[in-house]
């Protein structure tokens, strides 16, 4: 399997850019339909099903409608920034997909083409950098509208995204410690080598990452910047037509990217579980499947059908997380703003910091003892993480869901004490003053 020549590389890169861009835009269009259908399903309705079979052409109709609508420009808006807002939020959302590997390498007559638009050496840092730019669009739009609701939405967006970026970054740090590098191709490879997806050995990081990613994409229960019930439409109140449409497009593109990122970081990327045949990584210039007992590399067997299968695997995992996003949106009510800030700074940040320490110590001691990187290594880390996750869930829960029945009993005592107007004496101790009711 020879290297790609300069021309072949350019052709392959161009094709990949076009395919990924078209793919992302197509999926974003379909996601708007999917969201409405799922909303309808959860609310026991039918949803849009008139345009084309199953309503599949609804996004086209929506797009046409948005193009034909009048573009309004508020008289007091700061014009250049008002126009810049939607652009600034859409562009970072679209380009972040470039560093995510979406299938195993494809062998062609001209050489092996890896299925990633740009395998930059900084990998995940590129995504973090660009998603920190994404907040500009929302803030700029909210400020430039010169409308107090929009402005509040923009301010909330900036505060929320800055707060949750910290927890997001720290939960990624844990993955970096185990993977040993920042490129996403290497993360996929390390998960294949371990035989365990990072969602298991790094379960707490996975939970923290999912929560922070919800906040970063401004999806319910973290959609404070929009918050229809209190801020009219939040930062995009004044937008109409295509300028408005770019904001939802950015949101869905962001959602797609972060779903793909969750799949790559914690669910093995394009890896097919329980099968070593698909493993492939570029090691010192050759594609290898793994190392044999003596530590010498075993060459990978690449095939076009493996590329298709692994792409299917990647698509299934990504769709799972997209469904999770939508499922949560139509199930969980919105947080209060101060609750969001408390969760970010007082719960997620300290937890993530402590967890980084725990994982670092565990990894260091495993390496010092001399356990080779592999399934056993991962299993030990899984147990440590499971312990951390259990403690985290127990503390965060504060006896609400996990200890359900007992909590119900305690609550009954508290209500009883309140109606009687005295201290509640329960089997769990003294609590719930009756006078404060």
């Amino acid at each position: 399997m020879q290297e790609l020549s300069q021309t072949a590389f350019l052709v392959a890169a161009t094709l990949k850019v076009l395919a990924v861009f078209a793919g992302v835009m197509g999926v974003v269009a379909l996601l708007t339909l999917l969201e409405r259908r799922i909303a309808a399903f959860i609310q026991d309705r039918l949803g849009p099903n008139r345009v084309g079979p199953f309503g599949i052409l609804q996004p086209v109709a929506d797009g046409l409608k948005n193009f034909l609508k009048e573009e309004t420009m508020p008289a007091t808006a700061a014009q250049p920034y008002f126009l810049l807002g939607p652009l600034l939020s859409l562009v970072p959302a679209l380009v972040t997909f470039a560093v995510i590997p979406f299938a195993s390498p494809l062998p062609t007559p001209w050489g092996v083409v890896d299925m990633i638009v740009a395998d930059v050496p900084i990998g995940i840092l590129y995504i973090l950098a660009l998603s920190s730019l994404a907040v500009y669009g929302v803030v700029m739009g909210g400020w430039a509208s010169n409308n107090k609701y929009s402005f509040l939405g923009g301010l909330r967006a900036s505060a929320q995204m800055v707060s949750y970026e910290v927890a997001l970054g720290l939960s990624v740090v844990v993955v970096l410690i185990v993977a040993g590098n920042v490129t996403l191709t290497e993360m996929v490879w390390r998960q294949q080598q371990m035989g365990l997806w990072f969602a298991f050995p790094l379960s707490l990081a996975f939970i923290l990452f999912v929560i922070s990613a919800f906040a970063e994409t401004n999806r319910l229960p973290f959609d404070m910047p929009e918050a229809e019930s209190e801020l009219v439409g939040g930062f995009h109140t004044e937008y109409s037509g295509m300028k408005y449409a770019m904001y939802p497009m950015a949101e869905y593109a962001h959602m797609l990217t972060s779903s793909a990122l969750m799949a790559t970081l914690f669910f093995g990327g394009w890896d097919i579980p329980f099968w070593r045949g698909d493993d492939a990584f570029r090691h010192e210039g050759i594609w290898i499947q793994g190392f044999d007992g003596e530590g010498s590399p075993v060459p990978a067997v690449l095939a076009w059908w493996k590329t298709i299968l692994t792409f299917g695997s990647f698509a299934v995992k990504t769709s799972f997380f997209i469904l999770l996003y939508m499922w949560v949106r139509w199930t969980v009510p919105r947080f209060r703003y101060d609750q969001i800030m408390q969760l970010g700074w007082k719960v997620l940040l300290p937890t993530a910091l402590a967890y980084v320490m725990v994982v670092a110590v565990t990894v260091l001691s495993l390496d010092t003892v001399g356990v080779p990187y592999g399934f056993v290594w991962g299993a030990i880390l899984t147990m440590v993480s499971a312990l951390c996750t259990a403690v985290f869930l127990w503390v965060v829960d504060r006896g609400r869901i996990l200890s359900g029945a007992a909590y119900g009993l305690r609550e009954r005592y508290r209500i009883q004490a309140r109606t009687l107007g005295r201290e509640a004496v329960t089997p769990f101790g003294v609590g719930g003053s009756g006078t404060t009711a």
Binding site: A78, Y81, L84, V120, P121, I122, L125, Y126, L128, A129, L130, S132, L133, V135, Y136, V139, W143, N146, F151, G154, L155, S158, A159, M161, V162, E165, L176, G180, N181, V182, T183, E186
Partner: protein, 174 residues
């Protein structure tokens, strides 16, 4: 190709830096500052300093600029900024100081014409082999956390002191 990109980015960086200083609206100068920092990041990439480029965008363009935005919006400077501008003496003073600094830079580089250091490193291929061996972050981590760990920790403490100081100042007003 790299040459063309370098000069294009250098022009963008310098141009938006000048625009950043001359614009009257703080939001406009803010956007120009982001442009300057982003084009500097591209120049870092051209010199194979991928990690530095990413950090440049994350730290400056991300965190600090968002805080800038906060300050500007909370003080409501965005819309009626004209009365905040200082004229006359302040302008002369700032021009004088920046002129002196520029003169100092020019005289320094005149005296010891520097070799194109960054270009030399890129052409020697040291960085490429380092990145291939340890990854873009690994190449940076060893000097930072092993060779210069004391300096690194001292810098960290310095920043911590600054944060505590800012908090103490802010608390008094509440």
């Amino acid at each position: 190709m790299a040459q063309i990109l370098f000069y294009a980015m250098a022009v963008v960086a310098l141009g938006s830096a000048v625009a950043m200083v001359t614009r009257k609206s703080p939001v406009a100068s803010l956007l120009y500052m982001v442009t300057t920092l982003a084009s500097l990041a591209v120049i870092f990439v051209l010199f194979e300093a991928h990690f530095l480029a990413a950090i440049q965008v994350i730290v400056y363009a991300g965190a600090i600029m968002v805080l800038f935005l906060f300050v500007i919006m909370l003080l409501n400077l965005g819309h009626d900024y004209r009365k905040d501008l200082k004229g006359g003496l302040a302008a002369v003073l700032s021009l004088g100081v920046s002129g002196a600094l520029a003169g100092l830079l020019v005289s320094h580089f005149r005296a010891s014409a520097p070799e194109p250091f960054a270009g030399r490193i890129r052409d020697s291929g040291i960085l490429e082999s380092l990145i291939a061996e340890k990854g873009a972050v690994g190449a940076m981590a060893r000097p930072l956390y092993v060779d210069y760990v004391v300096a690194f920790e001292v810098t960290g403490i310095l920043l911590l002191v600054a944060v505590v100081g800012a908090l103490a100042l802010a608390k008094r007003r509440v």
